[in-house]
């Protein structure tokens, strides 16, 4: 169940995302990626109320979101891999270690890196993966 605390914490995590991602992916703070969005997708995990609140807040903020339930395979196979082959774009999430571990390693092959990684309540980690310095 999503509690009031989850909503507040989720909103706080979301509020930092565009600035974090924008600062990482562009030398000009505050600028956006091609297409007008600093973030391609925001990932949340339906198993964790705080992560669900985070996803809902991201949606309210006008960001594209993708829900997982621990396993990020479909997100990777159907969405991120085709997108990153065309153009590596930043993603962000509030997930457990497992999905981040996989996404981080898969992103390396596209010259991307984890730009931020912050432990959140419980076992959750808020993170941004963004294009790095090497193509």
């Amino acid at each position: 169940m999503v509690t009031r605390r989850d909503v507040v914490l989720g909103a706080m995590a979301v509020s930092a995302l565009p600035a974090i991602a924008g600062a990482w992916v562009s030398p000009k703070p505050g600028s956006t990626l091609e297409g007008g969005s600093a973030l391609y997708k925001v990932i949340y995990d339906e198993r964790f109320p705080l992560s669900v609140a985070f996803g809902h807040e991201a949606l309210r903020a006008g960001l594209a979101v993708h829900a997982i339930r621990g396993d990020m395979t479909d997100l990777w196979y159907d969405d991120l891999y085709p997108q990153w082959r065309r153009q590596p774009l930043a993603i962000a999430g509030l997930t457990a270690h497992g999905p981040l571990f996989c996404l981080e390693r898969l992103s390396w092959d596209f010259g991307m890196r984890v730009a931020t990684r912050d432990a959140r309540p419980g076992e959750l980690i808020s993170w941004v993966i963004a294009p790095g310095t090497r193509a």
Binding site: G70, D71, M72, T73, E123, A135
Partner: protein, 541 residues
Amino acid sequence: MRTPPGVSEADFAAALGQFEAAIGKSWVFTSDEDVDLYKDAYSPFWGEAEERRASAALAPDTVEQVQAIARIANRYRIPLYTISTGRNLGYGGSAPAATGSVVLDLKRMNRVLEVNENNAYALVEPGVSYFDLYRHIQERGLKVWIDVPDPGWGSPIGNALDRGGGYTTHQFRNHFDSHCGMEVVLANGELLRTGMGAMPGSQAWQQYKTGYGPWIDGIFSQSNFGIVTKMGFWLMPQPDAYLTGTVLVPRHADLVPLVEVLNYLENSHVCNGMSDLSSPAMEQPAPPGAPPPAPEVVALINKAIAGNAGDLDAYGASKGLAAWSVTIKFYGPAKAIAAQWEYAKERFAAIPGTKFIDGELIRLPLTAEQRERLHKVEFGIPNLSIFSMGARNANNPTPTDGHQWFSPIIPRSGAAVFEANKVFAAAGRDFGLPVPPYSIPFCFWERSFLFLFGFPVTHDAAKNQATRTAFRKLVEIAAEHGWGEYRTAPAYQDLIMGTYSFNNHALLRFHETLKDAVDPNGILSPGRYGIWPKHLRGKHP
């Protein structure tokens, strides 16, 4: 910048310059930020001086570039450590066996060169992942399956060369056995093809394994005799249907006849899937995140391990829990596999008190709903779901940072399972290892059982040191009983090679003779699987 052992900074700089000329500056990685990506995510030496580190990494795109790299490395005696995708976590990842080696990362060589639907085979490069090959097949609507490990983000070539396995039929789930033909760059840069590929213009490279003369493919697996740049694999024609059937036997001692019948059925290929053995009465193996058995059940298990299973049998009977169950699996025509299951039931019925549960007959291909709920790897579908299973919960309050597999092969018999549990339960207690109350073997390989113990890797050096000490003890104890590991991480490769010591280590001495002949400068993956070049033999850390 780190330098390879025994290589001067000037020579290393010269070699790097020539590597850049050969493959392009952007594919020679020397910064700490880039090179550190090749550290083993599950290193049992996390943060310690012994942690394996590369000095640089190279990512060629073509066979010709690999040949050029080998020639340059020979010129400057640069040790190269080859990886395909470097994702064999728990068995070493992408970190070199010898610190200071230059990682030769083949992931840019990711072309699916051929998939033949009619004769069910593929020819791929090392950087092709299971996802890549699966996508290639799906996008073309080809009716062939791949066999994938769990997780499925690795490379068919890398996994086969490390002798990994999967989950479909016996013919395909031993990934090295299912290969057919290799292309190999030798240490001197020369190109070799094995099997029918040795004949110029051969039309059957992926259709006949052994070619003519000595079949040498095996020496390129778990070794450092060459750099495999292409490999063929036999694929599984998409079957019509899949069926499971579960056999339940009432007494602990029934494991002996249960395994005998299972062996007959598997060895006769009556059942062709990977069987799953478990013990309902002992609640083993426990699913991820499940609570441990109650103390009173553990006490009964310990009595059974000691040789008195009467109380455990009585407990199982009172709860309606079988002592053992085995789920056997069939791939093939629906009518045929239904008949095979009926035949299997006749054979198992010879064990008094046996009960059966008919599984669901699955018509293939899977529906979306079936795909969601079934174990994907049994249907050749690569996935990463295994990484979502270690999440923190009430029964797993402190998830680890990785694991190291201790994986001994034991004989395919009930008696061997009893004996191994007696030994490993005692060793687990003695050395404080998280051995489950009762270890149930896996049926990955034909003819043998495999035990898999995933011992934790943490970011606490003292804990890792204790685990390594215990791991080493376990290797020694297993070897004393004639049980050897099928695969291991670099941290233990010397130790385990040392247990295959028949006739004063004749096997290792033969490996070393080969190594000296085919790689006299010792540039290829020094130390991999305990095989060291002459100049480092006995001198490595």
